[in-house]
């Protein structure tokens, strides 16, 4: 963890988002406290707090004063649109670019993806 | 050490240092006492005992006190400043240390002299000390008490001298110790003048004694007090903006 060069708080925020998407964090469920996060990942608690603040601002988490931080009921809906957008931007855009550089026709890629999709089923 | 309040810690520290220094050197005191008991006894087999052995032990104690004052200041100053003590607090604690140490050592000196007096009287010996060419007996009990009453002040003057040299040696790494040259002859000379005698130590340093011979004890004691105060002020001045030495890897 923490090695792709983006700020640590963003990596933590991304990880919490991923946990919400894959179901390990349920909507309405309680999230670990800032200090628990800091101790677990050995990071400055202010860094963990920054991640939480960002998620609260995005409406993914909400804060209950004195109780803790919870996953918003509509967190998954909010995130899925975001995930789709990022998937295209981070995964597909470079793929298209590299394919063009390597001279691989787009139709080959589509065929490959279809067989992979078939294999997964 | 239980944590004293911030305002009192400088006093607690000084008293604590005196206590631990006395505790640390207690066997030296015991050894001195044993020697002072045994040596005259051996001498008595061959000659008349005329000199107070304890007086020589007390003289050693003075030099020892100078080393304690200087050595402790030199090693403890950086340690305590690093542990969050101000230099001013250190100066106060060192003063308390010096006073308590000198009083305690003075009391030991005083008690020892009377114990020796009883010991010598019992065996018919004469408790005296060397004045130039002749040996002068210390005299009546009142004389002995008067003689011993100056001991704490004397110890304190040596302690102050040691402290100045100790802190100066910390401050000026290669040259600080040179303060020995002006300071020791003054302290030692005043000491010699007080007793008008030739105690242990290089005799030439007693040059001040010659000029002070004619004076009574009270003015000389006042001069010692004055010198001690001046030394304490000097130590504090050297201390107040002393930088911590940088560490070498």
């Amino acid at each position: 963890m923490f090695d792709d060069g983006s700020p640590i708080y963003r990596q933590i925020a991304d990880q919490i988002k991923a946990e919400i998407m894959n179901g390990s964090l349920e909507p309405g469920g309680k999230v670990m406290s800032t200090n628990q996060y800091a101790a677990f990942y050995q990071i400055n608690p202010a860094t963990a707090q920054k991640a939480f603040r960002e998620l609260v601002d995005e409406g993914v988490l909400y804060k209950q004063r004195g109780v803790g931080m919870f996953v918003a009921e509509d967190a998954r809906d909010k995130l899925s649109a975001d995930f789709r957008e990022r998937f295209f931007e981070r995964v597909l855009a470079p793929l298209v670019r590299e394919a063009r550089q390597a001279g691989i026709p787009l139709t080959d890629i589509i065929d490959y993806l279809k067989t992979q999709e078939g294999a997964l089923k | 050490m239980t944590a004293p309040s911030l305002a009192k810690r400088q006093y607690a520290l000084g008293a604590g240092l005196a206590g631990s220094a006395l505790n640390y050197f207690k066997y030296w005191v015991v050894a001195a006492a044993v020697l002072c008991f045994v040596v005259p006894f051996i001498v008595a087999q061959y000659a008349d005992v005329q000199l107070s052995a304890w007086y020589y032990a007390v003289n050693c104690g003075k030099w020892f006190t100078a080393f304690v004052g200087g050595g402790f200041a030199f090693t403890l100053l950086p340690q305590y400043v690093a542990a969050g003590l101000t230099r001013r607090e250190f100066a106060v604690s060192q003063a308390v240390f010096g006073v308590v140490w000198s009083l305690c050592l003075g009391a030991i000196g005083f008690a020892g002299l009377f114990a020796e007096r009883a010991y010598y009287d019992g065996l018919g010996w004469s408790q005296g000390f060397d004045v130039g060419d002749t040996v002068v007996p210390i005299g009546t009990a009142a004389d002995t008490a008067q003689f011993a009453a100056y001991l704490p002040l004397l110890f304190l003057s040596y302690f102050a001298a040691g402290t100045v040299i100790g802190v100066a040696s910390y401050r000026w790494e290669h040259t600080g110790w040179l303060l020995v040259v002006p300071i020791l002859p003054i302290v030692f000379g005043l000491d010699v003048a007080l007793y008008n005698t030739e105690p242990v130590g290089p005799g030439w340093i007693g040059f001040l004694g010659r000029y002070l011979d004619g004076m009574g004890r009270i003015p000389v004691a006042a001069a010692i007090l004055l010198a001690t105060v001046a030394l304490a002020i000097a130590a504090r001045r050297i201390l107040t903006d002393i930088p911590m030495r940088s560490k070498r890897a």
């Binding site: 923490f2 792709d4 060069g5 983006s6 700020p7 640590i8 708080y9 200090n35 800091a38 101790a39 990942y41 050995q42 990071i43 400055n44 608690p45 202010a46 860094t47 920054k50 470079p94 670019r97 550089q101 | 050490m1 239980t2 944590a3 004293p4 309040s5 911030l6 810690r9 520290l13 090693t75 403890l76 950086p78 340690q79 305590y80 400043v81 690093a82 542990a83 969050g84 003590l85 101000t86 230099r87 001013r88 607090e89 107040t240 903006d241 930088p243 911590m244 940088s246 560490k247 890897a249």
Partner: protein
Amino acid sequence: MSFSVTLRDVSLNYGAEAALSGIDLDLEAGKVYGLLGRNGAGKTSLLSLIAAFRKPTSGEILVGGEPVWENAPIVSRVALIREGGDFDDTETVKDTIESGGIRPSFDAEYAYKLADRFEVPVKKRVSALSRGKRSVLAAICGLAARAELTMFDEVHLGMDAPTRDAFYKELLAEYMERPHTLVLSTHLIDEVANYLEEVVIVDRGRVLRHADIETFQGMGATLTGPADAVDGLGLDALAEQRLGGTKSITVAAALDADVRSRAAAAGIEIGPVGLQDLFIHLTDPNRNGA
């Protein structure tokens, strides 16, 4: 109540030689700072001034809003732990720990607990300790001081990797339990980077950069690709390397979206720069200014 630190136009000379000149610095209460700098850059001098180990030649130093020099209520709650510690070597470890008690806040019980955990023999004399154990003892005394401003100056030297790791863990736990201002001066930047909130880089007696850690982490990038394409971006390179027709440059500025897309289109790979590398480039003596 953690201490803030303020330096206003502070200079320090050793004789004719200037160790620090014109330092202005604000450290906020309760944050963890990393102090980075090459050997002789002035890190230790800076920390010595903040801890009132020495007096500045000129300028003003406030800790907790008050002048720190000879201020007992302040310095009794400021701890600077220097490499190897400031100990009387002839004392035992136990006596050394006890003498920490001149700080009213000192927690001897905690110190003994740590000594036990880090296997520092309490009965041995300090002079008989290995370099590593001595560093650990210094660190223990620093933690147990429970100060409002604690500064560790290269205290990790001599500790092996597992010990350093355990020490940082303890430091973080202590910090979370009792928030206070912390300054870590070190060369092993990547080891402590995750603990830091802000970073101060000192170079040649001056503060070169002071920013929060994210700024530093987002600051640098390496761009690797065809030499012409890399040059074509017109970026101000901190460092560059060439291998045949391929060129790699390091920049110390956040890349905007426009540069990123142009780089991507030209087949240039963009990679992150670790804090350690960024620091090396920023303080390269062959660079003029920064």
